[in-house]
């Protein structure tokens, strides 16, 4: 059911969402990020792109698995620490991030479900914001089966029509969220729908960058595993973690025990983000590291996104948000690298 929401009424919708943790993009120290919206009136959806994508809310950087405590008798007391699953709503989610969540859903779902992820995922309502113009000069979602107005992974899609939003409800969760707003929403007229569709169609022409003809890249990559191509491409990589931490689809993690007390031995098992770009990511306890250099690690990142994920899940594991390009301190450009792979002659 398509609705219209006047921009001036947007804070009233937020005010009606007291039962939810409400996240929205906020500008802190010149950096946009999704944070809890303390003041509904201060929330504006007029923003480009966050540094850290919406994945941080369904897959936080730190979460607990269980508590352990040495028992008086032999063994340990264990207490599972599943997330409460408090309803959360995230406003301003760009379509590339919505699509990215559908990709992490594949990884954490399937035969073996990760309940920690799903508790948060099921409780989260993603309210998308169509990109009338590209949020970043490095956007290329159209090249990786995405679009600036894609509905994948979203529960609601809002389109900015000037002084009002065109609000499309896409799922039951989205329907419920819109109904919380009650009478502040009005029925959309056919003219409103047309205006939104025009914005969507125009947005596709505005992307500054594209990654063309990559159909054969997965097969090409398979043949380039031992190629010296990767040594040259990775020479300027400084092996920080920015490209992967800030990628909407990256989901690697580390598990550690954080010990609070030695006697009795007690603590919590904690999951934190990890990245294949850290040198010790693949360090074995024997001391052997199968990815000992930057070439191997850059190859891993590109292969995972444009070969392995395609082979396993029939999707590119890149949604074209451009964060890795914008924020890489040395300007390593995934579009350029994949183009070179595409055109590579061994």
């Amino acid at each position: 059911m398509d609705k219209i929401l006047a921009k001036k009424d947007f804070p009233r919708w937020l005010e009606a969402l007291g039962a939810y943790d409400v996240y929205a993009p906020q500008l802190i120290d010149d950096v946009w990020n999704y944070e809890l919206a303390a003041d509904p009136k201060a929330v504006s959806l007029d923003y480009p792109q966050t540094a850290i994508p919406a994945k941080k809310i369904v897959f936080p950087q730190r979460e607990f698995f269980f508590e352990f405590r040495e028992a008086d008798t032999d063994g340990y007391e264990l207490k599972e620490l599943l997330p409460e699953g408090k309803p959360a709503v995230i406003f301003g989610v760009r379509p590339c991030e919505g699509k990215a969540v559908t990709l992490t859903d594949l990884v954490f779902g399937g035969e073996i479900r990760d309940d920690y992820y799903w508790k948060r995922r099921n409780a989260a309502v993603l309210v998308g914001l169509a990109c009338a113009s590209p949020p970043s000069t490095n956007c290329f979602c159209l090249s990786v089966n995405g679009s600036p107005h894609s509905k994948e992974g979203l529960d609601v899609l809002m389109t900015d029509l000037g002084d009002q939003y065109f609000v499309e409800t896409l799922t039951d969760k989205g329907k419920k969220l819109v109904s919380e707003g009650g009478a502040i929403f009005h029925e959309a007229k056919p003219a409103d729908k047309k205006a939104a569709e025009k914005i969507h169609a125009d947005s596709e022409k505005k992307l500054a960058r594209e990654l063309k003809n990559i159909k054969d890249v997965p097969a090409k990559l398979r043949g380039m595993f031992a190629s010296p191509f990767w040594d040259d491409e990775s020479m300027s990589c400084i092996r920080c973690g920015i490209c992967t931490y800030l990628c909407p689809t990256c989901h690697c993690f580390d598990i550690n025990d954080e010990v609070e007390s030695q006697t009795p031995l007690a603590g919590r098992r904690v999951r934190t983000w990890d990245t294949c770009q850290f040198p010790d990511f693949t360090m074995h306890s024997s001391g052997h590291n199968p990815r000992p250099d930057k070439a191997a690690r850059l190859r891993q990142r590109i292969n995972h996104k444009f070969q392995y994920f395609v082979e396993v899940w029939q999707n590119y594991q890149c949604t074209g948000c451009g964060r890795c390009i914008t924020l890489c301190p040395v300007g390593i450009d995934i579009i350029k690298v994949v183009e070179k792979v595409r055109d590579h002659v061994s």
Binding site: M235, S236, I238, G241, L246, T272, G287, V330, G331
Partner: protein
């Protein structure tokens, strides 16, 4: 004025004569206006080399990489690498020489003077452009930067968009070179530690509040550490997993390896990491500002390192990064070092 052609000619000469293995320099990135590091191996590629206001990277970081690369090769090519350095970057080479991490013969230093200006801060520029997209940027006249945007050209005073560290720069001409391009201009900085003094002048509680807010944002991506030429340790205190093992290392030893801090990005661990990095850089940080530039969440990291650079000068009369023969700050002392804090 530093001319691209002069730097390129020097690079070509070095590569054709085989004097250097390759040259670490700046080229224009895919967007056509921002610089990126480039590794020029063949003389015919020297036309990629540029010099401009977006050459903010500290290329000495790649001299460290070269040493690591050589260490893993059986018969390494022992010729030097050429590296383009600004004044700040050249001080990084001085530190690496002081610590005998590299030999003088491992680098061929191509110095570039920042003359009367410096490099830009991208965030400051974006704020000034207010949505206009930059297409090119050059050094203008009269200490301005000339910026071509998608809607016309803009002349901006350098002082408004220069990186903070350039505003306090004490080494705008490289201090150690094999060849120098650009004029050896004279510049004075009335307050070389002005930015850090602003924070010192806050009350203790306000300072704590400031650092708490800032370091809470940290996601422990370690970009600050990764981009720093002086953070060259193979095993870092912050990583609990990289450990040098041999076939004789027992499981017990592996399990008992000291874990100084947790991986979780919570405030106490973030503070620990940044404090350790700051103290390990005492007397070694030359304020190239790369840590602050690389940080994706805009934490003012310079304000930690700069404080210790100031104390090194004030308390111990120690100038960081000028004399390759000088011992490291914490491996020397003077009889008159302050003692009044000791009971």
């Amino acid at each position: 004025m530093v001319k691209h052609e002069d730097v390129r000619a020097e690079a070509k000469k070095l590569l054709e004569s085989g004097k250097v293995k390759y040259i670490i320099a700046y080229e224009l990135g895919a967007d056509g206006w921002k610089a990126n590091p480039v590794f020029i191996k063949k003389p015919e590629d020297v036309d990629k080399i540029i010099w401009g206001p977006t050459c903010y990277h500290n290329l000495v970081r790649f001299v460290v990489d070269e040493k690591r690369r050589k260490a893993q090769q059986k018969n390494p090519d022992t010729r030097p690498v050429g590296v383009v350095v600004k004044g700040c970057d050249s001080r990084a080479i001085v530190i690496l020489l002081q610590e005998k991490f590299i030999d003088r013969k491992d680098v061929h230093i191509i110095g570039v003077s920042c003359e009367t200006t410096g490099v830009i801060d991208e965030r400051k520029l974006a704020k000034k452009l207010k949505g206009r997209i930059a297409k090119a940027i050059e050094f203008g006249s009269d200490e301005n930067f000339l910026i071509t945007t998608d809607s016309g050209t803009v002349n901006l005073p350098a002082s408004e968009i220069m990186a903070d560290r350039c505003l306090e720069c004490i080494a705008h001409v490289p201090v150690i070179t094999d060849v120098l391009f650009g004029e050896k201009t004279k510049r004075t900085v009335p307050q070389p530690f002005g930015s850090v003094e602003k924070i010192e002048n806050l009350s203790s509680e306000d300072r704590w509040k400031f650092w708490n807010e800032q370091l809470e944002k940290c996601v422990r991506c370690y970009a600050c550490r990764s981009v720093c030429p002086m953070c060259y340790c193979d095993e870092c205190v912050a990583d609990t997993i990289t450990f040098a093992v041999s076939p004789d290392t027992t499981a017990e030893e592996k399990a008992q390896k000291i874990k100084w801090l947790d991986k979780s990005p919570v405030i106490s661990e973030n503070i620990f990491y940044h404090m350790v990095r700051a103290i390990h850089l005492a007397g070694r940080c030359i304020d190239c500002g790369e840590c602050e530039r690389a940080c994706p969440v805009n934490i003012p990291l310079r304000m930690l390192n700069k404080k210790l650079e100031k104390e090194a000068k004030l308390l111990f009369g120690y100038d960081v990064g000028f004399d390759p023969e000088k011992p490291a700050l914490i491996s020397c002392f003077r009889d008159e070092d302050p003692e009044d804090f000791i009971r």
